[in-house]
């Protein structure tokens, strides 16, 4: 059989030698190994104070994007819902009324937009499918919750703050998890 690693070692079945039978040399050897670990660098990250950097391709919670004027980009075309392999996205479309031009960019918008984070597999296909750059995956992940309903994120949870009226919140939104459960 082909060896899976180069560290493979055949197990001998011959009886133990005297040195092996008195255990103590091998115990001392083992103690030497553990002692050397006293001086090793600890890989621990003190979590709440220190955080591990996410990789640049990390796919976290979804964010519904706005354009530079603070209008919602989403037109409720449904391509993301079609692309979604986990069927986590539901939406309802509505028509833009007179006087709402500063809220929605196109004539059609999503009146309801929900993502079930328990179904979502964070594959990022919705991000790829979107023709309007309206949805993308951020660097945060879904915090724990007490019930399933808390994991169905509505449009209020997903929509990024308006860059015009709340520039600080908008800047913060990309790195911070949502707090309004």
């Amino acid at each position: 059989m082909q060896a899976l690693t180069n560290r493979r070692k055949a197990v001998g079945r011959e009886p133990m030698t005297f040195m092996e039978r008195i255990y103590i040399p091998s115990i001392l050897k083992g103690m030497g190994i553990t002692f050397s670990h006293l001086f090793k660098k600890q890989p621990t990250i003190q979590y709440p104070e220190q955080k591990r950097e996410f990789s640049p391709v990390f796919r976290g919670l979804h964010v519904l994007n706005r354009d530079e004027e603070g209008r919602e980009r989403c037109t409720a075309c449904g391509l993301c819902a079609v692309a979604c392999p986990a069927e986590a996205i539901t939406m309802e479309a509505a028509e833009r009324m007179e006087g709402e031009e500063n809220k929605y960019r196109e004539e059609k918008y999503a009146a309801k937009y929900e993502i079930n984070m328990l179904r979502c597999i964070f594959c990022g296909l919705c991000e790829e499918a979107c023709p309007k750059d309206a949805i993308y995956l951020s660097e945060t992940f879904a915090p724990a919750n007490y019930n399933r309903k808390g994991f169905v994120y509505s449009k209020d949870d997903l929509l990024i703050p308006n860059p015009k009226t709340e520039p600080e919140a908008y800047a913060k939104a990309k790195g911070e998890p949502r707090t309004n459960n």
């Binding site: 083992g30 103690m31 190994i33 553990t34 006293l38 090793k40 660098k41």
Partner: protein, 349 residues
Amino acid sequence: MTLLAFDWALLLEKLILIAIIVLASLGIALYTTFAERKVAGALQDRPGPNRAGPFGLFQPFADGLKLIMKEEIIPNTSNKGLFILGPALAMTAALMTCAVIPWSSYIEIGGRKIDLQVADINIGVLYVFGVVSLGVYGIMIGGWASNNKFSLMAALRGASQAISYELAMGLSLIAVLMISGSLSLKTIVDGQMAEGGLWNIVYQPLGFIIFFICALAECNRTPFDLPEAENELNMGYHQEYSSMKLGFYLFAEYVNMIMSSAVMASLYFGGYDIPFLDESTLPVNTAAILGVVALLAKIVFFLFLFMWIRWTIPRFRYDQLMHVGWKNLIPLALFNMLVTGAVILWQQG
């Protein structure tokens, strides 16, 4: 009033000494639990408890508080009297050992010579052995009273293990007693401190190794922690215990470790002797305090050794345990005893 012709100052001084030693032992045991976790962490490349207070120093108090606040459960089917007696006995036996350990020579306060030893009895070593074997009753009674098959099995294991290893321990000790010619721990330590006297470890390296292995077994420490084998006995003899009764069992183990470290330091490593230093050149009180520090340093070293071994090797199988005890250690101890006796006879001509 001749009835009261009694040295009341002696009573007072002993009471104070007892209080200090018991409290100090408990305090050290408290922090040994913390040190155990820190050492385990360091040996496994992790920081260990570090959240409660600076460097996690308040962790033992948090643990103690948690144990005290927990619900005290006495199982319906248990023998209630014995169930309570078990942990009490384990703790008492563990603490009683410290009565004969010479912590240092003596201090002088107002012209009064105060020995830093509760009782210098001439059968000190025998007393230690008697009390240590009493400690097994704590495990046995606890395991029996729990009325649980795992606890009972663990208690049986503990008892047979203690009996097996006490034999080899006693035999390795006889060689030390042959050299020192006394059963008093104070005399044994003084013999090692005397001019030109070497520590007993020089004369008895094999005896020390046997004694140390047996001490591990007596303290139920890894690799001999079969009475509390988590994976096969669900915790062992203290499975049914909760709250502070469980705390007493866990604590007694650490007190036992400290006491056996102190006994080993006294028997083989010169007790409160400071190496390469003639204590008689120092002022009496300074020498006494330095002696306590020296003994504590030796105890800390042994405690670290206990922990180091625990986090290095897995436990023995039960048949291996018995094999090592009866077929290896006892013949070795007998051999050691015979050689020591022969050498002593040869030297006396």
